[in-house]
């Protein structure tokens, strides 16, 4: 197989370029995140990315693989970045190390590394710590715009390193809009009553809705640069809108609007950045639509009936699991095999 044979045209696209595009597309939303929620995200990102690179390097050494080609595909950075965006601000360092460790070792390299992992590594890491450390994973800070104060960069760093007592910042923390909505509904409150809380903005959470807009913009860049195809984001969003619309039309008092769902939690990030991970997504055209629709529908089902306020991570992992089946049953008709009736 070593001899060179046709075609002799070198592809201009590369995996590294794709990953760089994803990182570039993440920048605007990340900046908006920092604008609304403070420096904590920067520290999260720094800890998560360095941790991911460290794990990646050591596993590659253990697996006796060359470092440069694997490290320069930037996939570890993308995984760490997505992970950092999912976890709460000012998470303790050990939480990040655990999550990233699980993502890189169990989620990725135990399966054989990039290209062989059936589950989205970032979501594997996130779900592991979400289930294992529920308290730490639900300590969310208020957006600075509606909060009585905010942490400085040094405070954030100390917080992450465990040098500050979390209790003294209780006033700055609050449940996320999705969480409040779930708790409120549990207390038989009307949507209109729940939305009295200052964390709600125009149609979703303050800050969150604008961050979601920026994720959308990043997604448009990914589509434009042909890093991703439209099928998965379109199917995720339409699946979500369709299912939530059905519930909303039936009972608008106790069900949040489709718009609220769209701009809350990990919806937009998930649709454009997480569900579109090519390695773990369906590959056929029809399969991608089905896979995306499944994620969108599952998010609403989990948000409505599940034990967690948001369901993007679980929905993505469940859909990942179905990918081999989806791909098998959505194979395109091969040219010249059972052609449709001729003209």
């Amino acid at each position: 197989m070593s001899s060179v044979s046709s075609p002799y045209i070198s592809p201009s696209a590369s995996v590294n370029r794709m990953m760089l595009n994803v990182i570039m597309a993440l920048v605007p939303g990340t900046l908006a995140y920092i604008w609304y929620f403070g420096y904590g995200l920067i520290i999260n990102l720094i800890v998560a990315i360095s941790c991911a690179l460290l794990f990646e390097t050591s596993i590659l050494l253990l697996r006796k693989r060359p470092l440069k080609p694997y490290l320069s595909d930037y996939s570890a950075i993308v995984t760490a970045w997505l992970f950092a965006l999912c976890i709460p601000m000012h998470s303790p360092w050990w939480l990040i190390v655990t999550g990233i460790g699980f993502a890189m070792i169990a989620g990725k390299h135990l399966y054989g590394g990039l290209g062989f992992n059936p589950f989205n590594p970032a979501m594997v890491g996130y779900v592991v710590i979400l289930i294992s450390f529920p308290k730490d994973m639900t300590t969310w800070f208020l957006p600075m715009q509606v909060s009585s104060g905010s942490l400085s960069f040094i405070d954030s760093l100390y917080f992450t390193l465990g040098l500050l007592e979390p209790q003294q910042w209780d006033a700055l923390t609050s449940a996320t809009p999705l969480d409040q909505y779930k708790t409120g509904l549990g207390m038989n409150l009307m949507i209109s009553e729940i939305r009295q809380s200052p964390v709600f903005g125009d149609f979703a959470g303050v800050g969150w809705e604008w961050i979601a807009n920026w994720w959308f913009l990043g997604g448009v860049f990914l589509l434009y640069s042909k890093t991703i195809r439209w099928h998965i984001p379109f199917a995720v969003i339409s699946g979500m809108l369709l299912i939530s619309l059905i519930f909303y039309v039936v009972d608008p008092d106790s069900v949040a609007s489709p718009g609220f769902h769209l701009f809350s939690g990990g919806m937009m990030l998930g649709a454009f950045f997480i569900a579109t991970d090519p390695v773990t997504a369906a590959t056929t055209t029809r399969g991608r639509l089905l896979y995306g629709f499944m994620i969108g529908a599952l998010v609403i089902i989990i948000r409505r009936w599940g034990g967690y306020p948001d369901g993007v991570a679980f929905a993505v992992l469940l859909a990942n699991m179905a990918v081999p089946l989806i791909d098998y049953y959505t194979q395109p008709r091969v040219f010249g095999v059972n052609p449709p009736e001729d003209h």
Binding site: M1, S3, V4, S5, S6, P7, Y8, I9, S10, P11, A13, S14, V15, R17, M18, P69, D73, G113, L114, G115, F116, R229, P278, V279, A281, T283, T284, T285, R288, D327, Q331, P332, R333, V334, F335, G336, V337, P339, P340, D342, H343
Partner: protein, 552 residues
């Protein structure tokens, strides 16, 4: 007779950088004769040829050099006059760089033509059967690259009703311009070839498909078509999209019909032929000229003056490179054919054959290191066969050939679109070629094993049958003998004189018995002694007796 923009689409395909202008800046030239021509004995798909001339023979241009009596074959003719100096193995264009039997022809520079007998070719009143004979005798093969003997294809197609004749002028691969320049300069001859094909096939319509990046060729062809006034023939401008020149892709583009993956195109009433082949047919029929030359594009970033040359078959690549001004790079990489499907040449001493449309000189061939497949699915988007290349790659790599076949590996036309877009830079087509050859090898082994087993079983059965037959024969013989004996007995019983005979037999048996009995008693060495010997023995015995008594 007009450009019809209404064409059907095929799935996938690539918009490639054409790179065709380089070789179109110069007019079509005639390549000079090299110092020696290396003419492959077999230049077609099918049964191999057998040499018809010997070393040392003087041959003229167009004289038969090699042919085969098999159905699927095409003879080879001398490209110029000269002497056959050797018939030997020479490196040829082949995926694994192997050698093949070639005639070495030293041209004498006179280029005299071989005069065929009257009736070999005839410009008037040719019947389809005459045309077929002539096309075969002229050694014409599909010049689009497949090199399938044209006469064999026509004969098989003629057994069906052909509704549509398609003339392939797409020339979709980058760099290649030989068909383009042929249509620009020899449109009338191409159209004449189309007319001859129509005579043979009697199609209801003829469609000439040309990619829309060849406006000059389309114009020239339209003019020639108008002058010829061929009925039911039209030129269709098709969008420039690789691989529109693939036979099944072109048929889909022009007719909307999809050739079934197990079918040949003429089974749905469509016959496809390349423009170069049409020109070759005209040459044979109207000018009594067998296929001894073709247009070759010499181009690429590694050659100084790209262009097109009418080249004698057998011309070494190095000679064409010289005509094109030589190499412009330090380490040129040679490809016979286009950059998508061409063959990598091991040296420039390899000769031009009937299949050679292009000599592409690249400055580098290095393939970047492949990364793992990330299942992005871009390969599936561009695949004109609507396959799932990522699945095929996975099954080929892990040697799950049965699954690869289930995913229609053999519908892959190796166009290279998938590999050209793969962000992981995986040489996908190499993997498919490997899988295909492994499967063929397996099939060959299975076939051989089956055949051996069948032969063994047949032998066993044959031996068993033989044995049974022998036994039957013996039994019949025994029975016959017994019957004969019984008959004799009966006859003897009837005859009274038979009794003494039985006595005589009995007497003989008794004698034999007595003799045997006598033989059973072995004679001792003490019998038959003389009286003197007997006396001595007695004396010795008495002495022994005395001694024994003394002892006691």
């Amino acid at each position: 007779m007009s450009t019809n923009p209404s064409v059907f689409r095929f799935h996938g395909g690539l918009h490639l950088d054409g790179r065709k202008t380089e070789s179109l800046t110069r007019p079509l030239q005639h390549a000079s004769l090299p110092s020696e021509l290396i003419i492959r004995v077999s230049q077609h798909i099918g049964e191999p040829n057998i040499a018809a001339v010997k070393v040392g023979d003087y041959v003229s241009r167009g004289q038969l050099l090699a042919e085969s009596s098999e159905l699927v074959s095409a003879p080879v003719h001398a490209p110029t006059s000269g002497t056959i100096s050797a018939i030997e193995e020479r490196p040829v264009a082949h995926p694994s760089g192997k050698s093949a039997l070639c005639f070495i022809l030293i041209p004498d520079g006179k280029d005299t033509r071989y005069e065929y007998d009257q009736g070999w070719c005839n410009t008037h009143d040719l019947q389809p059967s005459d045309l077929l004979r002539l096309i075969r005798a002229a050694g014409i093969v599909g010049l689009g690259g497949a090199t399938f003997p044209t006469e064999a294809k026509l004969t098989r197609a003629n057994q069906q009703k052909i509704n549509t004749l398609i003339i392939n002028g797409a020339e979709c691969e980058p760099y290649i311009t030989c068909d383009d320049i042929l249509m620009q300069t020899h449109a009338a001859e191409v159209i004449r070839g189309v007319q001859l094909l129509q005579t043979i096939l009697q199609p209801q319509q003829t469609l000439i498909g040309i990619e829309d990046n060849k406006p000059l060729a389309i114009k020239a062809m339209q003019q020639a078509l108008q002058q010829s006034a061929l009925p039911h023939t039209s030129i269709k401008s098709i969008p420039t999209l690789y691989p529109s020149g693939g036979e099944k892709q072109l048929i889909k583009l022009l007719t909307g019909h999809e050739v079934h993956s197990t079918q040949l195109s003429f089974e749905i009433g469509v016959f496809c032929q390349n423009v170069g082949t049409c020109f070759a047919i005209t040459e044979a029929v109207d000018h009594c000229q067998p296929l001894t030359s073709r247009i070759v594009t010499v181009t690429g970033p590694g050659v100084k003056n790209p262009g097109n040359w009418v080249t004698r078959l057998g011309t070494p690549v190095s000679h064409l490179i010289e005509l094109a001004g030589g190499y412009s790079v330090q380490q040129p990489k040679l490809v016979m054919g286009g950059p998508m499907m061409g063959l990598n040449l091991s040296s420039d001493q390899i000769p031009v054959v009937k299949a050679t449309n292009t000599i592409l000189v690249l400055d580098h061939l290095d393939q970047p290191t492949a990364q793992e497949c990330v299942r992005c699915g871009q390969c599936a988007e561009v695949c004109p066969a609507q396959l799932l290349p990522q699945q095929l790659y996975w099954y080929s790599k892990t040697r799950q050939f049965e699954l690869a076949e289930q995913y229609h590996l053999f519908d892959c036309i190796e166009c290279g679109c998938c590999a050209a877009v793969c962000p992981s830079h995986i040489p996908l087509v190499q993997h498919y070629r490997f899988a295909k050859s492994e499967i063929w090898e397996q099939r060959r082994k299975t076939y051989n094993a089956d055949r051996s087993r069948k032969r063994h079983e047949f032998r066993e059965a044959r031996l068993l049958k033989q044995k049974q037959q022998d036994e039957e024969k013996r039994r019949l013989k025994r029975e016959a003998l017994a019957a004969k004996a019984a008959e004799q007995q009966k006859a003897q019983a009837a005859d009274s004189s038979a009794t003494p005979t039985i006595d005589a037999v009995q007497a003989a048996l008794d004698r034999v018995k007595a003799r045997k009995k006598a033989q059973l008693v072995e004679p001792k060495n003490t019998s038959n002694l003389t009286p003197d010997q007997q006396r001595q023995i007695d004396e010795a015995n008495s002495r022994r007796k005395n001694i024994n008594q003394d002892k006691s």
